[in-house]
Amino acid sequence: YLYNNRYAGDQVIRVIPHNDGEVEILKSLYKQLEVDLWQPNSVSIITEGAAVDLHIDRNSSGIFRSHLQQAKIPYKVLISNLQKEIEKQSGSRSSRKRR
């Protein structure tokens, strides 16, 4: 496995905050759970109505989603298993490696 399979079970989740309250909840979750912000690229510019994409490791994704559900903030799982996507991205590379 590439990267020693370290991304197995990691997810990328998209949230579109609808109001300031949801923006604040997202910001605090970001700080609490140390997630990797993919978009936008700074937590200070998370605004309502704009997509926020977060890479969450497998140990935190369950907690993160339950927080969102409790706050009734809808979300979408963009990538359900990051390791699979990584393997797919460089498919030829891993075959090259085998070669």
Binding site: L2, Y3, Y7, V12, R14, D36, L37, W38, Q39, P40, N41, S42, S44, I45, T47, A51, D53, H55, L78, I79, L82, E85, I86, K88, Q89, S90, G91, S92, R93, R96
Partner: protein
């Protein structure tokens, strides 16, 4: 060899550097490879001067890729652009005119340490790999380390943050090297283009204020024509405009620094996609993404040759 090089896969830093040496060796009349300095970890910062060699001073376009390590489509695009320019010189009159009248300074991997690290340890590494004596976290966001509205909104002064602006502007040797080169070449470099990923946008100054740039009409027209050219390839729509209004007001980036330092056309591309694959754009999308972006960059370059 160059003819066997596969431009439709992602390459490691070592492969890209070998490719640069090979391109330099096989195209002596069009390519000149040099280093503008060293990275924090001591790697050379290679740049290709691309264009029909000439004794007279020519205007130049600077294109850097890979400022953020995990945005692999950037370096792929820089290599693609060089290949297209060299392969279509004899068959495409637009390419021939650009290569005859301009130089392109192409930096396929700006953040060489970060890129290497993203291949070997952490696929989603973003920053450089500089060390901070007081904190265990490494790296600075090379797009927040420029001496223009430094470390304000949208940047962080905490070394562990992804948008860490660094201890002081140009603290990163990679940023310093590019800034020094562009300062030296100020009279000739007429366009600065920085290739990023994950938004499908074409942005120009200012990021850090809502004001309109003095040559707005010319830059706006170049951007508009560029996104039309990009759309003509596969129908992909890019948003474009001043970064402050198209995105958000934030601290200055390399594009703002270039503009403030006298480069009249300064752009940042955010290539595909907008969130389906994110930074993991599959290799099967390298070709269409680079094809459409090449059209846009050629359109911007052609606008330098027109009076505006």
């Amino acid at each position: 060899s160059e003819s066997e090089y596969d431009y439709e896969v992602y390459h490691s830093l070592e492969e890209i550097q070998s490719w640069m040496h090979e391109i330099n060796r096989t195209h002596p009349h069009f390519v000149n490879m040099f280093s503008i300095g060293q990275s924090f970890e001591g790697r050379p910062l290679y740049v290709l001067q691309l264009g029909k060699k000439s004794r007279r001073d020519k205007k130049a376009v600077w294109i850097d890729c890979g400022v953020h390590a995990r945005e692999w489509i950037g370096p792929a695009f820089c290599q693609w652009f060089v290949k297209e320019a060299l392969h279509s010189y004899h068959s495409d009159p637009v390419t021939r005119r650009l290569m005859n009248q301009l130089y392109f300074y192409i930096m396929p991997v700006f953040n060489v340490d970060g890129y290497h690290f993203s291949w070997t340890k952490d696929r989603f590494w973003r920053k450089t790999r500089s060390k901070n004596s007081k904190f265990h976290c490494r790296g600075v966001d090379a797009n927040r380390n420029w001496k223009v509205k430094w470390c304000e909104e949208g940047a962080s002064s905490h070394p562990c943050d992804e948008t860490y602006c660094g201890p002081y502007p140009e603290s990163e040797p990679e940023v310093k090297a590019v800034a020094n080169f562009l300062r030296k070449q100020r009279k000739r470099v007429k366009a600065y283009i920085s290739i990023h990923a994950y938004a499908q946008m074409l942005l120009y100054p200012y990021s850090y204020k809502y004001a309109t740039i003095p040559n707005f009409d010319c830059v706006e027209s170049a951007a508009h024509n560029a996104v039309l050219a990009l759309y003509s390839a596969y129908g992909v729509r890019y948003r474009y405009g001043p970064a402050s209004t198209t995105l958000y007001v934030s601290s200055g980036s390399s594009m703002d620094w270039a503009y403030k330092n006298g480069i009249p056309y300064a752009f940042a591309f955010e290539l595909r996609d907008t969130g389906y694959f994110g930074f993991l754009l599959p290799e099967t999308l390298i070709n269409p993404t680079c094809t459409e972006t090449t059209r846009a960059v050629k359109t911007i370059s052609a606008s330098l040759l027109k009076k505006c």
